[in-house]
């Protein structure tokens, strides 16, 4: 089947990217001037202790052996041991991943859904106000530093009008009862996720509106209109449906950028997630930790991109059936 061949191709490609990222990860952390283990070597360690430590981190072997082992470890998700805590990086990441996922998914899904909805809506209601609104929102996303807006919102709702929590994912201690716990989480999510939505939805709205308007110029839309289809069916069934593939590509293409945003968001709102872990690790020069976090982030992006390819295939019959539209 064409689709499966397409998928196989994208899978091979995804693996290739992953492999490159692993290699890259390996290389850059060997570029560090000096000895990477310096940070954990306490001066009172004896030279045997130091050698032991190097052995522990596999740094005593020749580079190519290290590399092969490294690739193997990455595949096995053996991300090594953190310099600063001595714990397995993967365990530390596991503790943080759910938080990141919650924040990331909530804000991303909300951003995209709200953005696209507004885009579709304004495309159907062409006029000065909707034009201005969407263009303004798009410019806002593009030109305003997201972290600044987040700081302002934090200051406003955390400090001036302290109605929202300024840090963390849950209250300490967590309330009892599932419902209250969910409510508590939502309360903590409002600022970080909400601010992400505020700064992010505009570009989606603008892009959706633009592509929708372009799609509405297409002959098949004219045909659909001539067919006497209802306005909103044309909008959703024909226009939106046909601009979905590029939007989906874009949605997933935006992931790396969103991940970057997540790093900042987590820092600003002291969100106990992978992004914050990464920045902390780099600050502390905890290389295995930084490497692991980066690997996880890159892996997430690669996986999401692959997911995008799968979904893309579903929404664009040209891919699913053949005549590869993406080549």
């Amino acid at each position: 089947m064409v689709y499966s061949r397409y998928l196989l191709k994208r899978l091979i490609y995804a693996l290739m990217v992953l492999f490159i990222i692993i290699t890259f990860n390996f290389i850059i952390f060997r570029l560090i001037p000096g000895d990477a283990t310096k940070m954990i070597i306490d001066p009172k360690f004896t030279s045997e202790a130091k050698a032991e430590l190097k052995r522990e981190f596999g740094l005593h072997e020749p580079t190519h052996v290290q590399y092969i082992k490294y690739v193997g470890n990455m595949i096995k998700f053996d991300l090594g041991i953190s310099f600063s805590t001595g714990r397995f990086v993967i365990n530390e990441l596991k503790e943080r991943l759910p938080n990141t996922m919650v924040l990331f998914l909530t804000s991303f899904v909300l951003t995209v859904v709200i953005g696209i909805s507004i885009g579709v809506y304004t495309a159907s209601k062409q006029g000065t106000f909707s034009d201005g609104f969407v263009t303004g929102a798009g410019l806002f996303t593009y030109a305003v530093p997201a972290f600044w807006i987040q700081l302002l919102l934090l200051m406003l709702f955390g400090y001036y009008i302290p109605i929202l929590p300024v840090h963390g994912t849950i209250s300490a201690p967590q309330p009892y009862g599932l419902f209250l716990q969910i409510l508590d989480r939502v309360h903590h999510l409002i600022l970080p996720a909400g601010s992400n939505v505020i700064v992010g939805f505009g570009s989606w709205a603008l892009y959706t509106r633009n592509t929708m308007l372009e799609a509405l110029d297409q002959d098949y839309i004219v045909t659909a209109k001539a067919k006497g289809l209802k306005e909103n069916i044309i909008l959703r069934h024909h226009a939106l449906r046909s601009v979905l593939p590029p939007i989906i590509t874009l949605v997933f293409g935006a992931l790396p950028g969103v991940v970057s945003g997540a790093v900042i968001t987590e820092t600003i709102f002291s969100w106990h997630g992978v992004g914050k872990y990464l920045t902390d690790a780099i600050m502390m020069q905890d290389y295995p930790a930084a490497q692991g976090a980066f690997y996880l982030i890159a892996l997430a992006v690669v996986v999401c991109n692959f997911a995008a390819d799968i979904i893309y295939g579903f929404v664009d019959p040209r891919i699913r059936i053949g005549e590869g539209g993406k080549e």
């Binding site: 990222i21 305003v144 530093p145 700081l151 302002l152 945003g261 900042i264 992006v301 991109n305």
Partner: protein, 444 residues
């Protein structure tokens, strides 16, 4: 309307003619010119240097708050009073000086003077330094006895000094400055010899008397946590942002264009390879990788420029490549080939000029991206620590108490500066796109 009837004019003049008609483009241009002006004339726009500290109290509010916000109506500006005469010779009468203080209470003050005595051996020469409030309360700030001649001594009295607090009978968390300067009016600074200052030959000399009261309001934008002028930082930050934005955009667009044209035109394995590389680069989350590389390669401005460019060329390359691909299929390219034009001739004469408008627009649109990236890095604390940038201002604001002091005036200006500059470039870029590439609509 036939797509071919699209008027494509060449020449700077005709471009300018059409550009002039676009209000947003002109607004953008004017804003950029203002920024450039600020960047160039930074030293003339502010009397301070961005690294100068203790210009006022920490996190002082802008001066104009005095006229706008009632709370700051009487907030003190930095007051430094040096006394007229360089040297006082005091025999047995106190010397006093009137200080007019018409502000609300400051947080701190300091007083410095040099003093020395000429006193016979075993005398009990001594004096104290005090401040008398308009109400007549006296606060003794310093006192010392001499039993013989002394060398010149620099005395520095600071309201934050724990010893002073003790001397004034305050707890360590109480604040002498606000206690002493709690009312408005004429204060007196008194140097009072001990009763029985000694015999007639005893002389107390005091010079270089300087009272310094750091202001709670200062300058156009107030001060940061180190008492450094925020307006100055903002002005000098303009330089860095423009330099980073422009150079990163130019580098990455140049690289992207070259790669795009070569890939698009030559195609084949090189194209395949580079485009895969582009895909890989695009799949890498930029900020984390910049943080990592920045931490490894060092945090200089130029490293940041290079790193930002290293992760910003891909979109241009893709864009130019796809444009080149379609140009390559355009018949006029083949026509040039049919006339005997070489590849290099065609790339440089036919393809490059045709992608330039696109490239130019995307370069302008890349500038804000570069500025924002640098700001993000600096904000996270991964910027060049030696230069004042807007991102760093925000970093400091966040790290050093803008929130808890609710110092919004510290937080708002750098963000606005970034926003306006980015917007200006977006306006310009969009206008260029509108003129040159009306068909081309990128997601902003």
């Amino acid at each position: 309307m036939n797509k071919y009837q699209l008027r494509v004019e060449t020449g700077v003049m005709s471009f300018w003619k059409r550009y002039k008609g676009k209000p947003l483009g002109m607004i953008g241009l004017i804003i950029v010119i203002i920024y450039v002006f600020i960047a160039i004339f930074a030293p003339f726009l502010t009397p301070y240097s961005p690294k100068q500290i203790l210009l006022a109290d920490r996190i002082a509010a802008p001066l104009w708050f005095r006229y706008v916000i009632p709370k700051y109506n009487n907030a003190p500006q930095t007051v430094t009073i040096g006394f007229d005469s360089p040297l006082y010779e005091i025999k047995d009468m106190p010397v006093s000086h009137i200080i007019e203080y018409n502000y609300s209470a400051p947080k701190t003050f300091s007083l410095t003077f040099d003093c020395w005595v000429n006193a016979p051996f075993h005398s009990e020469a001594g004096f104290e330094c005090l401040i008398k409030t308009p109400e007549g309360r006296e606060y003794s700030l310093w006192g010392k006895s001499y039993s013989s001649d002394s060398d010149k001594q620099v005395v520095r009295i600071d309201s934050r000094d724990l010893g002073l607090k003790q001397r004034l009978g305050l707890t360590i968390f109480e604040d002498p400055a606000s206690k002493i300067f709690s009312s408005r009016g004429d204060y007196s600074l008194i140097f009072r010899p001990n009763p029985g200052f000694g015999d007639t030959s005893t002389r107390l000399y005091i010079s270089n008397v300087k009272l310094h009261i750091p202001g709670l309001v200062h300058g156009i934008l107030g001060t940061d946590h180190m008492g450094s002028d925020l307006w100055t930082q903002l002005v000098y930050g303009t330089r860095i942002s423009l330099v980073i934005g422009l150079s990163a955009a130019v580098i990455s667009v140049a690289v992207g264009t070259a790669i795009g044209i070569i890939c698009g035109y030559l195609g084949g394995v090189i194209d395949e390879f580079i485009m895969r590389a582009v895909d890989v680069f695009l799949a890498i989350p930029v900020l984390p990788i910049l943080i990592i590389l920045g931490a490894i390669l060092g945090k200089s401005i130029w490293n940041i420029v290079i790193l930002v460019s290293a992760f910003a060329w891909m979109n241009t390359a893709r864009l130019v490549r796809s444009q080149t691909l379609s140009l390559r299929e355009r018949i006029f390219i083949e026509a040039a080939k049919a006339s005997g034009g070489s590849d290099i001739y065609i790339m440089s004469t036919h393809i490059l000029p045709n992608v330039l408008p696109l490239v130019f627009a995307s370069m302008v649109l890349l500038i804000p991206t570069a500025i924002l990236t640098e700001a993000s890095l600096s904000f996270l604390g991964f910027g060049d620590p030696r230069v004042a940038t807007w991102g760093r201002m925000l970093h400091n604001a966040r790290g050093f108490g803008a929130f808890t002091t609710l110092a919004w005036w510290w937080l708002v200006p750098p963000g606005l500066a970034i926003t306006f500059l980015s917007l200006a470039f977006v306006f310009i870029g969009n206008t260029i796109n509108e003129i040159f590439n009306p068909k081309y609509r990128e997601r902003l």
